[in-house]
Symmetry: C2
Subunit: 141 residues, 2 copies
DNA sequence: CCGATATATACAACATCACGTATATACCTG
DNA sequence: CAGGTATATACGTGATGTTGTATATATCGG
């Protein structure tokens, strides 16, 4: 369980993190909120603790878990360069919307709202923009 | 492979996403950059495509992959509430850094979001905030 | 049309993870 | 000390993911 992503890729752990965002909780409280057997909760908390997501404070027999900021902060830091990436996309979207709002007098060529959510393959053609440098054909392995 | 986290929890996929942040790449280019066998690259790209992280444009026999913003944007959105959470912690961190001048928290350029800083808990204070007025005993289920 | 190139997919082996069950440890109350 | 409560851990099992090998599909050059 190395990475921040691996830790959060489990839905119950994600739920625990979300719950702990609001306030600290004991194991039993998490157990009830999530409707999970106690060993499951404890094991997920163990993973979260090893990864630095939570810290624990003993309170008699109870263990009160609370969120720690570091791992999520590092996630935020990792994400930073990507914000710069989709900024232009947002701009493009905004410009598009601006034109639309400004009046679609332009009658924009029928293109009827592509359904294209994500994983389609637009039938587009692309010129060989291959950095002009690597005309490799038979790269011998 | 449901969640954004699950997709990014694999280091090679994370590397691919980072590479595609800089510019689009064909499968062969990724193959060489990452020193991975071609089927492995293709399979990871398949996962990324199904999850909406990348889109592909055919260029003769090549397939040129480029990054798509949506999934990472949703990750950013998920992270938003947590920023409010660690804001107070940032104050503490800043005070600490002011004294230490220990800058090392930055976006990894290709660095694989290292193992979460687990128990390297900076010498922080732990208030005895054990809700001192809750001497719960045996709570019956 | 043929061979080479580029990429995708099928299949099997293997590792990892999450879960349930059982049990261990610690603390509290009487 | 005894019994109950709260949590952690060990072990076996089934599910899922990753990888390597082999093969299929499509395109290009001649």
């Amino acid at each position: 369980m190395e990475s921040v992503f691996a830790v959060l890729s489990e839905r119950h752990r994600l739920a625990i993190v979300s719950l702990l965002l609001e306030e600290e909780h004991s194991v039993g409280e998490l157990e009830r909120r999530l409707r999970l057997p106690q060993p499951t909760v404890s094991k997920h908390l163990r993973v979260l603790r090893d990864a630095g997501f939570v810290e624990v404070t003993p309170d008699a027999q109870r263990r009160v878990y609370r969120l720690r900021p570091e791992p999520l902060q590092s996630l935020d830091a990792w994400l930073a360069p990507f914000r710069r990436f989709w900024a232009p996309h947002l701009d493009a979207l905004e410009r598009h919307l601006d034109r639309q709002l400004d009046g679609e007098l332009d009658a924009p060529r029928g293109a009827p709202l592509g359904p294209a959510p994500g994983s389609d393959t637009p039938p587009r053609r692309r010129e060989p923009r291959a950095t002009s440098s690597t005309p490799r054909k038979g790269s011998p392995r």
